[in-house]
Amino acid sequence: MYRYDQFDHQLTAERVAQFSDQVRRRLSGELAEDEFRILRLQNGVYMQIHAYMMRIAVPYGMVSAKQMRMLASIARKYDRGYGHFSTRQNIQFNWLKLQDVPAILADLASVEMHANQTSGNCIRNITSDEFAGVAHDEIIDPRPYAEILRQWSTFHPEFGYLPRKFKFSITGATQDRAAISINDIGLEAVKNAQGEIGFRVLVGGGLGRTPIIGSEIAAFVPWQHIITYAESIVRVFNEYGRRDNLYKARIKILVKAIGIDEFRRQVEEEWKFSKDGPSTITQAELDRVAACFTAPAYESLPQEDAAVAQQHNNKAFSNWLKRNVKPHKVAGYAAVVLSLKNSGIAPGDATAEQMDAAAELADKFSFGELRITHMQNLVLADVKRSDLFALWEEAKAQGLATPNIGLLTDVICCPGGDFCTLANARSITLAKAIDERFDNIDYLHDIGEIDLNISGCVNACGHHHVGHIGILGVDKSGEEWYQVSIGGSKGSPANIGKIIGRSFSFAQIPEVIARLLQVYVRERKTDERFIDTLRRSGIDPFVEYVYATPVVEDEKLLLPDYDLIKQGTPYDTPYYSPRF
């Protein structure tokens, strides 16, 4: 993991002092709310209806056990005992007081963490592959580059007031697990014919009201030039991005308006000034940062071990093995996904106890490190296969071992109508209804990998456009309806799903999903995933079947005193809309 040197510490401390003073001036009335608003957003602080929400940066998802314990302590001390891991690999706390923020930042700084630029119209936390460094299909470990870019973008004096937020994502593997095509800039490591490392650069991807897959602006930018190249892109965006309309201000709209070729020409023109200049990355700096990401002290182990093999007749364990245990490039090791998707809680929520437990597991089984995934789960990246059974038992006791990674119930869903003031429809309650309908683990395993994404409104926080099945809450004369799309994908290759037809009621959705799955089961060939079948056969057979006969509403979902509906959610007040 990256470790701060004296300069990182000093900058972080100065930032804490700066924002603490800004908070003081806000509380004393010296700073007006509209002057303070942008300052607090650049420190990840949102004002909600009932409290302040704060988003803490977890750069490219890497977190140490010590840092995780600090997050648990923040949850207990300043919040209501839980936190929410986000699709950008960060963590959010929803019930804070502004007065406490300086102390929280100081606590974070003590473990080399911060909340810099986690919101606002600036360069946000850079996301990456949660299996970086251990993936079998990796060309390079992207984390040193992600860290170098993090430092470059931190307090960049020219880019603090961009037209809109700006997101980077970087992958070093052949399979894109970092969803680079739906970021403002997506970087994919490539090796050229001479064996040199560089990046294929995508620009202008994003979801929201206008979903667009990023376009290739450069096929190969040598790694030394990635800062000057990225800086040229952001500079052109800063000058020409629209500032008159919030919904047209992202770089994707600019790229679409002038076309990728013209945009590329402008960037290249700009790049002439800085290419080969002092911001070119030096080998020494790359080496210094890369030294923080060297492999831990792996033992040399056989690939499979008896302990795991013996437990194969333990069905629950082998389900977990199948879904939550991922391959590792070193023999005898595995990467383990701890699921934060349990029925009835908001996907990505974890209690302080779970955070502490995850830290404990990391110390015990995975060299004291964890990762946060953009699917809102946790990863222990370096677990000995011989420890898997012990790990499983302990994780299970903490509710962290639901064997559903990649399955229908490993859903990405936004807070929706249960929490968010902008919502047209409920998301979490719908996820629960789906969970309940498909609670047969054997069936879920048979269906296999499928991305289900739910957004409560057109702002698309649940990334419904890139779900294999995407559900969007829509408003029809004040009523809650859902539009269904299929065939989206967030990577390898990424594309936007197609809407299947007219919308459905809340109580119809579980049956709609059942029908989509029935078509899949009917049409699939051996080893084909839902998305593969769909790509091969096209959407027509799915659409025909769903609309062939009327979709009956699940009656119990209409009963106001049905448990699932009645319980609503574990929290009684709306807490956030992550939009800004």
């Binding site: 900058l11 930032r15 307090f155 004096p157 880019f159 800062i227 800063n238 500032r243 030294a291």
Partner: protein
């Protein structure tokens, strides 16, 4: 009052702003040290050519490149921030300094507040006309929010890793 090179000084310049109905080609530029809007310079170029004590100001949507031919004939160039959240002025300043080589006074004016001064200084502004209702003495403190920075900009052409030996004591 102004902040110039980190101290308070009295402003010797007058800023000309076009009033409703005034046209850039016809407005009368008063005598003395005046900072004129770019369109006025553009239209009255020939008449104003002889005046050495003349500054020009750019709105955030105007182009630094449009001044490039005679950039160093101006003792002052100002950038007007109609809203502090409009970040185009930062890139304008960066271009004026590093790409077009402007050496005179570069002034930030308009919605200029304490909490933006550090970034403004980094991209190349040396003079700040802080918004009139704000305490300029207090604003002065904003210039020293940080004692170092990671990336290069106008104030420092080198990124941190070329300035210091990194990775030292934790």
């Amino acid at each position: 009052m102004l902040i110039k090179n980190n101290v308070l000084v009295t402003d010797e310049w007058t800023v000309l702003r076009l009033k409703e109905g005034e046209a850039a080609d016809r407005v009368v530029v008063p005598a003395g040290k005046v900072i004129v809007p770019f369109p006025v310079w553009n239209c009255q170029h020939e008449a104003l050519q002889g005046r050495r004590e003349l500054g020009v100001w750019l709105a955030s949507f105007e182009r630094a490149e449009d001044l490039q031919d005679d950039i160093n004939r101006f003792p002052v160039i100002a950038v007007d921030f109609h809203k502090f959240s409009d970040g185009r002025g930062y890139t304008l300043a960066y271009r004026l300094r590093t790409q077009l080589g402007f050496r005179g006074e570069l002034r930030a004016m308009g919605d200029i507040l304490r909490d933006q001064l550090f970034y403004l200084k980094r991209v190349g502004f040396d003079t700040f006309a802080v918004r009139a209702d704000k305490d300029i003495q207090d604003a002065l403190q904003g210039l020293s929010d940080f004692s170092l920075s990671y990336q290069a900009s106008t104030d420092n052409a080198l990124p941190l890793y070329r300035r210091v030996e990194r990775g030292a004591a934790r």
